[in-house]
């Protein structure tokens, strides 16, 4: 296959940046987009030019490192995939494909297609955990968790923290990400003692980081490579309201 790649090049956070066109050819339709970028980079490096910087690691869709806006869509045109698993057969032979970073108000461009997503870590640090010290855990066998509750928790816990939901959202909201973490822990008995606190702390942290508010556009669930849906945002809203009311009543 042959493609024209229109790639956002930006030297660092202070550079203005712009699109540069590259031709890639002789590629099998089974090759992934990132392998095509690897190939392009080897040619650039061989010619003494700086390669296109992009994040990626596991190439199996689980580490969450990769993330490119492909033709306007985070992670590209195939639903339920990360960028690293996007095959060239998703494109027409000879097509021009535009590659941009996950650009939002919060994710600063570091270089080319690499962005800074540390804000997502800071949201988790605000309380996205169960406060249990190493060694103090009780015998796991005595805690019964209903099969369906564990499955529901896992459906949300599969979030890979890639940030595509934020990049897709017209408001730059991180509600799918936050809702997934809250739903994971709220579905399990271990998550109950800190549930209200956690909900309020994560929402406040997301606000502090500058993520936008959710107005239920649903773009996030359309691009989520792990099929996390707006149900987690409903859970977030429910728990936030419950926590706020409980506080208002002085409980």
């Amino acid at each position: 296959m042959k493609l024209t790649l229109r790639i956002w090049r930006q030297r660092d956070a202070h550079d203005r940046g712009g699109f540069v066109r590259y031709e890639v050819s002789d590629l099998s339709p089974d090759t992934t987009l990132l392998e095509a970028l690897d190939d392009l980079n080897e040619k650039l490096v061989g010619g003494g030019e700086p390669p296109v910087a992009f994040d990626s690691d596991c190439r199996e869709g689980i580490c969450g490192a990769c993330g490119i806006v492909v033709d306007g869509c985070p992670h590209g045109p195939v639903p339920g995939t990360t960028t690293c698993l996007l095959p060239l057969r998703a494109f027409r032979d000879g097509a021009t494909v535009t590659l941009e970073p996950f650009r939002t108000g919060v994710f600063r461009v570091v270089r080319d297609l690499v962005v800074d997503r540390a804000a997502l870590d800071r949201v988790v640090q605000a309380g996205g955990y169960v406060s249990v010290r190493t060694g103090s855990a009780p015998d796991a066998s005595v805690l019964l968790v209903a099969h369906d509750d564990a499955e529901r928790a896992l459906d949300a816990a599969v979030c890979i923290g890639c940030g595509a939901c934020v990049a897709a959202c017209p408001n730059g909201a991180a509600s799918l990400f936050v809702g997934a973490k809250l739903t994971h822990l709220a579905a399990l008995p271990q998550g109950q003692p800190e549930r209200a606190r956690r909900t309020q702390a994560l929402v406040a942290a997301a606000d502090r980081e500058g993520f936008g508010g959710c107005t239920l556009h649903g773009e996030c669930q359309a691009v989520c490579p792990k099929h996390i849906d707006l149900g987690v945002v409903a859970r977030l809203n429910h728990d936030y309201l419950t926590a706020a009311l409980a506080r208002w009543w002085g409980r």
Binding site: R11, L27, S28, T32, A36, D38, D39, V45, G46, G48, P50, P51, A53, D57, C58, R59, E60, G61, I62, C63, G64, L85, P87, V110, R111, V114, D116, R117, A118, D121, V124, Q125, A126, G128, Y129, S131, V132, R133, T134, G135, S136, A137, P138, D139, A140, S141, L143, L144, A146, H147, D149, A150, E151, L154, A157, V158, I160, G161, H184, Q190
Partner: protein, 637 residues
């Protein structure tokens, strides 16, 4: 140098508790005076950093990723072993110990493996308390499944993404300590050298991968949790950036390297296709609970798999190993697959793959149940290959996956450099010559949550450490070395890319130091790797400068280290004149084509000491003694 198992004497059971009882303690108020450096934030690094932070130490945790949640532990699929006898099938600490030691073909320490088995149950307690959503039975109890090399069901799992869920548990524990102020996570930092002062590890030189600035981090001890080096083969199941640089730099500063030639090849990976392929994708061993591996009985049979009748299929693992069947350990599974492919029965392009078939299981339990057990694996397979494995059997082939070798550590997980601790896959300690499935997560977490916090405390309590300034002579010298090396990489102005050299190295290692090794091939490979290394420093090109995000500079530095380590891997494989576990020397095999150990000559850990430039490294040995289990030939037949 005296290399020995430093475990306490006496009965195996309770050895670890006795060691814990004799380790000295550091008072709660003293702990915050100690600055510790943890490099790596995977299962081992994150669990260690979080646990040390909880104890009250000041911890800096470095990771080259943009977030600690991305370490390659995240990609572990199948599960984590624990001796909890959850299935009433006769499991126990003794049996997990036995299976793991025998699975490793008697090339690991009894004391370490026993400790691992003893601690395994608590890992599950810890992870469940953190909110890890393990699979559950309908009654609410934890579900288990089986893995290779075991006749019991002791593997706890969360679909095919157990590593991700356990890593998120550790990551969240780390987040809690960051919030509490005891741990500072430094993302996008790569360790490039170890700082040794008065013979003790006191810090690291790291590069800020965004600004390119070199930083010095000093403290009272350094913990390396930087994973394995299977990426030496270029194509492996490891993540693209997984590398050996941290452990190799430590080796160059004097930390001994144990069993570098012990590399695990995983039998069920998606086969390599095309020259553009960036890496290989694993299909979890857990599939072998339900799948059967087969090849056509007739050589070169190129009919579609569903057109090949039952009588013309060779279920080669069930034929060769009737007792364990498809659940043999990985070394045997990989070699058996290679054998049938070498005999002309392989399928797919080049005839290098075998079928992994779920048809019978789907008929037995239904497709819905299989999707619940392995759903994300089927989806991954579909993304990469385009088929639904419930309709068309998967094609799988062996690939480099995990390294049992690593930096040598004593029972306290300390390397030959005092104050340098090494945990998880980065050390060599518990897996012998072959790791059983679902044991890597167990080891990483046992090291990080339970062993290291105790032994590191014992080291700090028993050692007088003078303060070290970030601008001390040793730190400055290490930083100057790093700067010179980066400068050297950037000024080669050759014509070949680092990846080009890496691919060439991978081909040499795969041929000579892969599933089968022989004397002549290894001797030749040592020369070839040396020649490649010379060519690399002559002809590599690295564009850009040191003071910016320069991914090609990162890559070139890692490849340069693989080019040194690759030679040591071959030297180790050449020196070990026996076959054991993953290390199959064709000169040493039984009439049935199984590994033939030489327990008189090689029941030891091979421990390599770095030499001055131009000199050969020195091979020392740590003898292995077996008090509990009699040495015998492994039998899974």
């Amino acid at each position: 140098m005296r290399l020995r198992d430093t475990a306490p004497a006496g009965p195996l059971a309770g050895r670890w508790q006795r060691r814990r009882d004799e380790l000295e303690l550091v008072g709660p108020t003293q702990r915050r005076q100690h600055q510790l450096i943890v490099v790596g934030a995977g299962l081992a690094g994150a669990s260690a950093a979080a646990s040390l932070g909880e104890l009250g130490y000041q911890v800096r945790c470095l990771t080259f990723h943009d977030s600690p949640r991305r370490a390659h532990s995240v990609a572990a699929q199948g599960g984590v072993n624990a001796a909890r006898d959850a299935a009433n099938d006769g499991d126990s600490v003794e049996r997990l110990f036995h299976d793991t030691l025998e699975g490793g073909d008697f090339r690991s320490r009894e004391s370490n493996v026993y400790r691992l088995a003893e601690l395994s149950a608590r890992i599950i307690d810890q992870a469940v308390a953190q909110g890890v959503p393990f699979a559950r039975e309908y009654g609410g109890l934890l579900a288990t499944r089986s893995f290779g090399g075991a006749l019991v069901s002791r593997t706890f799992y969360a679909r095919g993404q157990t590593g991700q869920q356990l890593l998120l548990g550790a990551y969240q524990a780390l987040a809690k300590e960051v919030a509490g102020g005891s741990v500072t996570v430094l993302p996008r930092r790569e360790m490039l050298d170890l700082i040794v002062v008065d013979g003790r590890a006191r810090g690291v030189v790291a590069r800020d991968l965004v600004s390119g600035a070199l930083e010095t981090h000093v403290g009272d001890a350094v913990v390396l949790a930087t994973g394995g080096y299977a990426n030496a083969y270029f194509l492996s199941t490891n993540a693209k950036a997984s590398n050996a640089t941290a452990i190799w730099r430590a080796y160059r500063r004097g930390a001994a390297f144990a069993n570098p030639g012990f590399v695990q090849f995983h039998p069920t990976c998606l086969p390599a296709a095309g020259e553009h392929q960036a890496k290989l994708t694993l299909m979890s061993e857990s599939l072998r609970n339900d799948a059967r591996l087969w090849v056509p009985s007739r050589r070169g049979d190129d009919r579609r798999p569903d057109a090949i009748p039952e009588a013309e299929r060779d279920y080669f693992l069930e034929r060769r190993y009737p007792r364990y069947g498809n659940l043999v350990p990985r070394d045997l599974g990989s070699r058996a697959a290679k054998t049938v492919c070498d005999e002309g029965h392989g399928v797919g392009p080049g005839g290098r793959a075998v079928y992994l078939d779920l048809r019978d299981a789907a008929a037995r339990v239904g497709a819905g149940v299989l999707r619940e057990r392995y759903g994300n694996l089927f989806e991954l397979y579909h993304h990469v290959i385009g088929d639904d494995p419930l309709e068309v059997p998967m094609r799988v082939a062996p690939a480099a996956h995990y390294t049992m070798g690593g930096l040598w550590v004593d029972y306290d997980l300390m390397s030959t450099i005092p104050g340098l601790f090494v945990i998880g896959e980065a050390n060599f300690s518990d897996q012998g010559a072959n790791r059983l499935g679902a044991s890597a997560l167990m080891q990483g977490l046992a090291d990080g949550y339970f062993i290291l916090p105790g032994t590191l405390t014992g080291y700090l309590a028993g050692t007088q450490l003078a303060p070290v300034a970030p601008d001390s002579a040793e730190a400055k010298a290490a930083q100057a070395d790093v700067r010179a090396r980066l400068e050297k990489l950037l000024t080669r102005s050759g014509r070949r890319t680092a990846s080009d050299f890496h691919r060439a190295l991978g081909r040499v290692l795969w041929e000579a130091c892969g599933l089968e090794r022989n004397r002549g091939g290894l001797a030749k490979a040592i020369d070839e790797v040396a020649a490649l290394r010379e060519a690399f420093w002559d002809d590599v090109t690295v564009p850009g400068g040191p003071g910016e995000l320069n991914q090609e500079l990162e890559r070139a530095g890692r490849v340069a280290d693989f080019l040194e380590l690759g030679e040591l891997m071959c030297r180790d494989a050449l020196a070990r004149e026996e076959s054991c576990g993953c290390h199959f020397r064709v000169e040493h095999q039984t009439a049935e084509g199984e590994a033939r150990r030489d327990d008189d000559g090689f029941a030891h850990v091979a421990v390599w000491m770095p030499a001055a430039p131009g000199r050969r490294p020195q091979r020392l040995v740590e003898p292995l003694t077996f008090e509990t289990l009699a040495l015998r030939e492994r039998s899974y037949r």
